[in-house]
């Protein structure tokens, strides 16, 4: 199974990237390539040109700025996992990244790519939402929660690139993460991630239970779960049926909350 014919361009900076992306040929963005390349092979995506943003300096780097941890959208997950900055400021992100694909995928896959790919079963956008992250694009700054609007659908406009992810550096008093998967090299079926803020406020995000991540915020565990139940809109795919997702999502949500409430990380 070879790739169909395509042309490849590697811009030297963001400005050039935007120009290329605006061109007639309607190119696709190539970051880590771990989702777009298989999709092109399977004919699930049909772009015939690629703009490689993986080496753009503007999309690299992990830094602290103004109370935020800023992670370049093009930084491979491998580097995020190995970063001491992330380990201290957002240990939950490292824990969750450890469940994404495998090292040989994380060596290239990027946070920006994961957000833009916007798969409803991914644990990553949900984690960034639970961490109250902001997404810096070439055009604006968005709440991570406002990015995805459907399965593989985001509010990003054509040519708009994610530049960085900015995670507020708040000391959390607890976190929890639970998911179900068929095997450890396939995407999750359904899962939940939760944190407890110093105020006692809980944030819960459930993935794989609706076309977009479901965010619920509040101090009361039971209320969060009931908020959740009204928003579950499960779907069938090759890994599970809607009924199962709907049944298990609240269970995992409860466990993630319990862990967040009971733990002190």
């Amino acid at each position: 199974m070879k790739l169909p014919p395509l042309s490849y361009q590697r811009p030297t900076d963001l400005r050039e990237a935007s120009l290329m992306l605006g061109s007639e040929s309607m190119p696709a963005v190539l970051a880590g390539g771990q989702s777009i390349i298989p999709a092109l092979r399977f004919g699930e995506r049909s772009e015939s040109s690629l703009v490689d943003i993986s080496r753009l300096a503007e999309l690299q780097g992990i830094t602290h700025a103004d109370g935020f941890l800023r992670i370049g959208a093009g930084v491979p997950m491998w580097e995020v996992c190995g970063s001491p900055e992330v380990a201290t400021s957002a240990p939950l992100l490292i824990r969750v990244l450890g469940s994404v694909g495998a090292v040989g995928i994380r060596s290239r896959a990027t946070l920006g790519g994961s957000l833009a790919w916007a798969d409803s079963t991914s644990q990553l956008p949900s984690t960034l939402i639970v961490l109250n992250a902001q997404v810096e694009t070439t055009e604006r700054i968005l709440d991570a929660a406002d990015l995805q609007i459907g399965q593989h659908q985001t509010v990003l406009r054509r040519g708009e690139l994610i530049v960085s992810i900015q995670i507020p550096e708040v000391e959390l008093t607890g976190s929890g993460f639970h998911l179900i998967r068929k095997t450890h090299i396939t995407w999750p079926v359904v899962g939940a991630v939760a944190v407890r803020e110093p105020s006692g406020q809980l944030r819960l995000v459930v993935f794989g239970a609706a076309p977009t991540p479901i965010l619920a915020v509040g101090a009361d565990r039971a209320k969060l779960l009931s908020q959740l139940s009204s928003r579950i809109l499960p779907f069938d795919d090759e890994r599970a049926r809607a009924g199962y997702r709907g049944q298990v999502a609240p269970i995992l949500a409860g466990r993630a909350l319990d862990e967040a409430i009971g733990s002190n990380t």
Binding site: M1, K2, L3, P4, P5, F42, A102, I180, K182, T183, H184, I185, T186, W187, E238, R239, A240, R241, G243, Y244, Q247, V248, I251, L252
Partner: protein
């Protein structure tokens, strides 16, 4: 065997067997130096891509290849019409039936497509990428026909026909009763019954199928390089291609795993052959992964059982019977083998006198079945062990007690089963007791009891236990059971090997059939070491192509270690006999007074060990020193030995006895311990213990690799793997994102216990080991999960057991309460 060397049953000293040893094969593989079929680079080689049907059942109205043909780099295009003009139907077992069953199979679909993934048009181009581009430019117009999506649909009245001349989609229906099962069931105190479902799965070797064909004009000879696991396929391609078989040469490449699923892949070989004849270039096809899963002619058994076990009031098993309906898909490639082969061990390790079955084979619009590790034995063992578990529950016996009561006893061997197949040897009670002890079975039961007292609503522990047979060393006669056939078709599936010793005393072995990714080269070298006494790593091993190969079926149904060691040992012993007069000449002794001493690799005079003729000295003399040879001897030191199946026997004409076709029988007990998450249905392993007995062990690490590897495949059979079809017969699991192979994190470490009950019938007592793990693990894992869920009254009658199903069953159980 005409040899004066001490036979293994007289002396039990092993020189090379049973010792840890690096494999010959691994030396190239750790360097990336294996030569797989996709690694072949031949000048001018063309690459094939196939347009495969997106529909399960449709008439082909029109094929337009004009645009594809004009694409730069495309050399040739074939459609079904071209194939039909230049070949006859591919030789399948349907044709060997008497009279032939009218289930033709062409390399490319002709009038209509019969399954999703059926090849319709083939393109040969300069690169695979260009060939795929061309395929995208081809337009095919189909006229939809109603698809037959499963066995029920196939047998429904008025069902659409998959093949027009097979009425009711019914390939065959057979009933056999061995030992008057009917009256046994009538009079039994207890009868337990289960209806079971086993869907398709596949070997999914990491390497897909591939081949290269090279036609040589003038000589009219066709050479195939390929990674299919058996010579049998090559023998059958001649009639299809209109070539005398000796004009077809098969060269085996390294093979990246097979598991039965590379046994029969004729379609692409025919296509490559036709392209090569057309272009006179070498032509290669390598399956993509989707093609492998969807259209690779490699799916395993697909059946439903309605099965019953009759017992007396004490729990003694009296009879087994079942009716089975098997969905063979759109052709009958290997005949009813997936149903015939398991009957070698129909009644398992138990002493059951009466056995009967009712077998129905149907056609459907699925890709044809072939083989997957166990030839249907995994499903059969699953059926039998489900019944045994059910009987234990019904009679209030423990899983251990019901087996203790019914296992065959050591003194019953050789044991003749109800169907006539012999079990050569075994010690099943010891295997069971050791398994119980070494798995800490009782401790797990205590832990389970404590957990049950706590009544944790979120999780439950389950302990599985099964005792299963691993029939091995298939004789070809298995292929013909249940078949009306020409007499004389019963191949006993011999295996050949050649051994040559050069003037330096170096030993070369040539194997006559392909590998399937198991260390056959190492086994051959080890047998040479065992017999001759030279170090195994000094032996060179190569493979003959089929043009000079003797009768050699190649690996399937766990036959290779037994058959190959028989062939190599036979050849070595003949070479030793050729050396005897030469050694006598050198030692000025009487040939009869000499004996071969494998501990020193020399001939010695009996009783005078210090006077010896070394291998090197004899070999030097034997290779081209005619003037120094004793009278009556010729130069050259080699032998080709064809080893016949050690105890195959003819089926009885009246069907009362099916003869011996897999009589070398290993045994295994599996004890998995699982924890089931009652809220999510997730299953995790707390332990997995396997007790196994494959007779004499040639290479302990290789045996462990086979047992663990097959067990892990069996675990995935139980939990995740399935090739499902929707009601339109469209495959649902088309790539590795939806066909769920297990990873390092999905399976437990497997603890092993070894037993060695040598076979009295084979070379040094070896038995096959390739399939047992997969033939037992599905039954064992399901047994464990059912045990965990038993407080909720859940009964499990199918695989795979997914979290989704577990929650459904728990829901049904609580709704019923």
């Amino acid at each position: 065997m005409n040899s004066t060397i001490p036979s293994p049953r007289e002396t039990n000293t092993h020189h090379a067997f049973g010792q840890p040893r690096e494999t010959i094969e691994s030396a190239r593989h750790v360097r990336g130096g294996g030569k797989f079929v996709a690694d072949l680079q031949l000048p001018g080689m063309l690459h094939v891509a196939l347009l495969r049907s997106p529909k399960a059942h449709a008439r082909i109205v029109e094929i337009d290849v004009r645009q594809a043909r004009s694409l730069l780099g495309v050399h040739a295009i074939l459609t079904g019409a071209d194939v039909q003009k230049s070949t006859s139907s591919i030789y399948t077992m349907a044709q060997m039936h008497k009279p032939p069953l009218d289930i033709p199979l062409h390399a490319l679909a002709t009038d209509k497509v019969r399954h999703v993934g059926e090849p319709v048009v083939a393109v040969a181009a300069r690169t695979r990428a260009i060939a795929e581009d061309a395929v995208r430019l081809i337009r095919v117009k189909y006229e939809d026909l109603p698809p037959v999506a499963d066995a029920d649909a196939a047998l429904a009245s008025g069902a659409p026909l998959v093949h027009e001349n097979i009425a009711g989609n019914l390939i065959m229906h057979r009933q056999h009763d061995f030992g008057d099962a009917e009256s046994v069931f009538k009079n039994a105190d207890h009868v337990v019954r289960r209806k079971l479902r086993w869907p398709r799965q596949t070997g999914a070797a990491l390497e897909t199928f591939g081949c290269v064909a090279q036609w040589q004009p003038g000589v009219d000879e066709l050479t195939f390089w390929s990674n299919h696991q058996s010579n049998v396929l090559l023998w059958t391609l001649g009639p299809t291609l209109g070539l005398p078989p000796h004009r077809i040469k098969g060269i085996a490449c390294d093979i990246g795993g097979a598991f039965g699923a590379k046994f029969w892949q004729p379609r692409a070989m025919v296509i490559c052959a036709l392209f090569s004849r057309l272009t006179t270039r070498p032509v290669r096809y390598v399956e993509g992964r989707v093609e492998n899963l969807v259209g690779g002619d490699n799916h395993g058994e697909d059946r439903t059982y309605d099965a019953e076990l009759a017992l007396d009031s004490s729990g003694k098993m009296l009879g087994l019977r079942f009716s089975v309906v098997e969905d063979y898909g759109s052709a009958f490639i290997l005949g009813p083998i997936n149903n015939a082969e398991p009957l070698a061990q129909a009644t398992g390790p138990y002493d059951i006198a009466a056995f009967a079955f009712d077998f129905t084979a149907v056609l459907s619009n699925k890709v044809p079945q072939a083989a997957y590790r166990g030839f249907g034995g995994a499903a059969h063992n699953f059926m039998l062990e489900r019944l045994v578990d059910a009987a234990a529950v019904e009679l209030g016996l423990s899983a251990v007690a019901i087996r203790e009561l019914n296992l065959l006893q050591p003194e019953q061997f050789p044991y003749r089963t109800a169907t006539g197949n012999i079990y050569d040897s075994g010690d099943y009670p010891t295997a069971l007791h050791r398994a119980v002890k070494e798995s800490s079975y009782d401790l797990w039961r205590e832990r389970q009891a404590r957990a049950r007292e706590v009544k944790d609503p979120t999780r439950a522990i389950g302990i599985g236990l099964v005792s299963c047979q691993e029939r091995s060393v298939q004789s070809g006669t298995a292929l013909w059971l249940m078949f009306d056939q020409e007499p004389g078709r019963n191949t006993t599936a011999a295996e050949s090997a050649s051994v040559r010793i050069d003037s330096q005393g170096s030993v070369r072995v040539a194997l006559h059939s392909p590998s399937l990714g198991t260390p056959t080269e190492t086994i051959a070298a080890t047998v040479v070491a065992e017999e001759l006494g030279v170090p195994a790593d000094s032996v060179s091993v190569s493979r003959l192509d089929t043009s000079m190969a003797g009768p050699a079926m190649g690996p399937s149904a766990s036959r290779m270690t037994v058959m190959l060691s028989g062939a190599v040992a036979g050849a070595v012993r003949e070479v030793i006999e050729k050396m005897r007069p030469l050694a006598a000449h050198l030692l000025e002794a009487n040939p009869e007074d000499l004996m071969w001493d494998p501990s020193r690799a020399c001939f010695t005079i009996v009783g005078v060990p210090e006077s010896s003729a070394t291998l090197a000295a004899i070999a030097h003399l034997a290779n081209g020193h005619a003037l120094r040879l004793p009278a009556g001897c010729r130069s050259g030191l080699e032998s080709t030995y064809t080893y016949d199946h050690p105890m195959s026997s003819m089926p009885h004409a009246d069907g009362s006895d099916w003869g011996n076709y897999a009589p070398i029988v290993g045994h295994t007990v599996h004890v998995p311990v699982v924890e089931v998450d009652l809220q999510t249905g997730a299953v995790t392993f707390l332990d997995y213990f396997v007790m196994h007995d494959c007779g004499t062990v040639v290479n302990p690490d290789a045996v462990r690799g086979q047992v663990v590897g097959a067990t892990v495949q069996g675990i995935a059979t139980a939990l995740t793997e399935e090739l499902a079809f929707d009601e339109q017969a469209r495959p649902q699991n088309t790539d590795f994102r939806s066909y769920f192979l297990p990873t390092f994190l999905d399976v437990p470490a497997i603890r092993l216990g070894h037993m060695e009950t040598p076979s009295p019938f084979t070379y040094r007592g070896v038995k096959g080991i390739g399939e047992g793990g997969r033939m037992a693990a599905p039954a064992a894992v399901v047994s464990a999960i059912e045990d965990a869920l038993s407080p909720y009254g859940v009964r499990i009658n199918e695989v795979p057991v997914t979290p989704e199903k577990i929650l459904k069953w728990l829901g049904n159980a609580s709704a019923a309460q």
